[in-house]
């Protein structure tokens, strides 16, 4: 029954271009769906306490791999995107394996990923002969008749592509949720030692979820670059974009499959509304509102918007200070 409903919603979304909506609406929707995919990928790790501040690196690694292969070797993005995803996964494993093995967790994990993200951003800038440095780069125009091979579509084509990728992300979420790994990861995020003591292979489980998370983020990055036909180190790698991904996923709610999507709709919608409502004079407005919302969410709604719809019983009961005297509670 639920599957039928999901299929119906997807079909309805896929049929959207048939109504010939204005280009601008399609543009906003495509951006939303691709942002949702990146956020979904991030939340795969984030919801198990593996908070990465460097996911921008994976968007960038995949996007630049794809674009450089197209521009310099003429390799179609249809192969370039999988290649880019593989590069991103290798990067993720290179960073993840020692981090998990040596038990870098919490703040430390967040800072290690932040450093790794910066390294990728700086490398992209430094390899300016291939990447165009901080000025960015544009994929070469498709030869006549080669639009499909070059993956350079009109809005409708990209909409279907983005929608398929997004559905893939949700499917990955669902498969993970149904697997034993999800339970193992939940146990690990509660108490790593206890999880290891009952035979959960901590490093292996963390690696698995990292690969999935990185692959989805990388796919989102490559498709975003391909859609925009423009790559820039600031908008595809680095701390700014990494934090934006995190914000979207948190605002929407990272514990529900549709949470990051809700977050993407909100963040992109907010961006566009502020841009239209206030014009270019109000350039600082979007981050200002963003930041305020992020603070307010953390203060009052740490489980995000999707958290509001969770069944009461499912949400863990908030620790009552009287029953569980936390060390820091003396400070309140």
């Amino acid at each position: 029954m639920r599957d039928i409903a999901v299929a119906a919603v997807l079909a309805a979304l896929a049929a959207l271009p048939l109504l010939s909506p204005p280009d601008y609406a399609m543009h906003v929707l495509i951006t939303m769906v691709l942002t949702a995919l990146a956020g979904t990928g991030w939340a795969m790790m984030g919801r198990y306490g593996l908070v990465s501040f460097g996911h921008g690196a994976f968007l960038g690694a995949a996007a630049y791999t794809m674009a450089i292969l197209w521009n310099e070797a003429g390799l179609t993005p249809w192969i370039g995107i999988p290649a880019g995803i593989v590069v991103a996964i290798l990067l993720g494993m290179l960073l993840g394996y020692p981090a998990f093995r040596l038990r870098v967790v919490g703040h430390y994990f967040a800072l290690v990923t932040l450093a790794a993200g910066e390294i990728v951003r700086i490398l992209i800038v430094a390899l300016r002969e291939h990447t165009g440095g901080s000025l960015g780069m544009t994929p070469a125009k498709a030869p006549p008749g080669g639009a499909f091979l070059a993956m350079q579509f009109d809005k409708a084509g990209f909409w279907w592509l983005a929608l398929a990728a997004w559905a893939l992300g949700l499917l990955a979420w669902r498969l993970l949720d149904r697997s034993m790994s999800s339970k193992a990861l939940a146990a690990i995020s509660e108490d790593e030692d206890a999880a290891a003591s009952i035979g959960i292979r901590v490093t292996r489980e963390k690696m698995k979820v990292t690969v999935i998370s990185v692959a989805l983020a990388a796919l989102a990055g490559a498709l975003t670059a391909q859609y925009r036909q423009y790559l820039n180190p600031e908008s595809l790698a680095g701390l700014g974009i990494s934090l934006q991904i995190v914000f979207g996923a948190i605002a929407g709610g990272m514990y529900a499959p549709l949470g990051p999507t809700i977050g993407a709709v909100i963040t992109i919608g907010l961006d566009e509304a502020l841009r239209i409502g206030f014009g270019t004079e109000f350039t600082g407005g979007a981050p200002l509102v963003y930041g305020l919302l992020l603070v307010l969410f953390m203060l009052f709604m740490p489980r995000g918007i999707a958290g509001l719809f969770e069944r009461r019983a499912k949400a863990p009961a908030p620790a009552k200070p009287a029953e569980a005297p936390l060390p820091a509670s003396a400070a309140r």
Binding site: V112, A115, G284, L288, L293
Partner: protein, 287 residues
């Protein structure tokens, strides 16, 4: 001379000077983390606000530079107090990641506010001191002055922590936050003081940076990440370690830039940080 290439020597000297500049924000961040146990992700943005304060008071309001510097410290200290009261204190019992993300939200707020008020234009203070020649090495006068001021600031902080009652309480709380309330120390007050001192250090760092860098809303991103890394590398909450790590990072960046490009040197610095996290997560200089 002759033992060392003068250019390498210059790189070494510049590295140490750069380390002095990194040291102050790293100390402030370390103080707040060690005491309050919350990472201020927006720390570099507090510095950015301080830089704008100096720039505005000096070039727009026409204050003398010394007065603008003197005003910058309390302004940023107040900002630190507000940050603690409005954002950090209500989240003291939340998971660490929520705290980090909330201060990350403040980062966006400050960047956005700065863009709204001052636009994205690069603002320069337009103050420069002549370079000095020491032996065969040229040293920028502004950098040297900033370095001396940073050392002085660190010394004052050390004396405050070592010789005053409040300072002793701050160090004690950083050591053991569960027992100190039993000893009659009010953590709420100590947290507030630590936040104010942390803010003041950001203000001092702003004074030293604004003479060397143009200020723009995103200037914090250029030294923020490295500040975090220095702070963690020295061992979170370990002041001396952070101070030494600042010079180590300064040297890596400066000497790396001598052999390769600046970008290359930052890659080396960040990679070094990741290695340290893998091999000695308790910090390079942990006891």
């Amino acid at each position: 001379m002759g033992l060392l290439d003068p250019f390498l020597l210059e790189a070494l000297v510049n590295g140490i000077l750069l380390g002095g500049v990194f040291a102050l924000p790293a100390l402030g961040l370390n103080l707040v983390f060690g005491v309050v146990d919350v990472v201020w992700l927006c720390y570099a943005e507090l510095v950015m606000v301080g830089m704008y304060a100096v720039w505005f008071l000096h070039t727009q309001a026409g204050w003398p530079l010394a007065l603008a510097f003197a005003a910058c410290l309390p302004v940023v200290a107040l900002l630190g107090v507000l940050l603690h009261l409005l954002v950090v204190r209500p989240l003291l019992n939340s998971p660490p990641i929520n705290q980090v993300l909330a201060t990350g939200g403040v980062l966006f707020v400050l960047q956005g506010a700065a863009t709204l008020v001052f636009s994205t234009e690069f603002r320069s203070l337009g103050v420069d001191m002549p370079p000095m020649e020491v032996g065969e090495v040229f040293v920028s006068g502004t950098k040297l002055a900033a370095f001396c001021a940073a050392l002085l600031g660190a010394a004052i902080l050390w004396a405050f922590l070592k010789f005053t009652y409040v300072g002793t309480a701050i160090r004690a709380i950083a050591r053991d936050r569960e027992v100190m309330p039993l000893m009659g120390v009010d953590p709420r007050r100590i947290y507030l003081i630590a936040s104010a001192v942390g803010g003041a250090l950001a203000g001092l760092a702003a004074c030293l940076l604004v003479v060397q860098l143009d200020v723009h809303p995103f200037v914090g991103l250029s030294f923020g990440p490295i500040t975090f890394m220095i702070c963690v590398m020295g061992g979170l909450g370990n002041m001396l370690g952070g101070f030494l790590a600042a010079f180590l990072m300064g040297l890596i960046i400066s000497v790396g830039g001598f052999w390769g490009t600046t970008e290359f040197s930052y890659v080396v610095a960040f990679a070094f940080f990741i290695l340290v996290m893998f091999l000695r997560p308790q910090g390079l200089f942990a006891r």
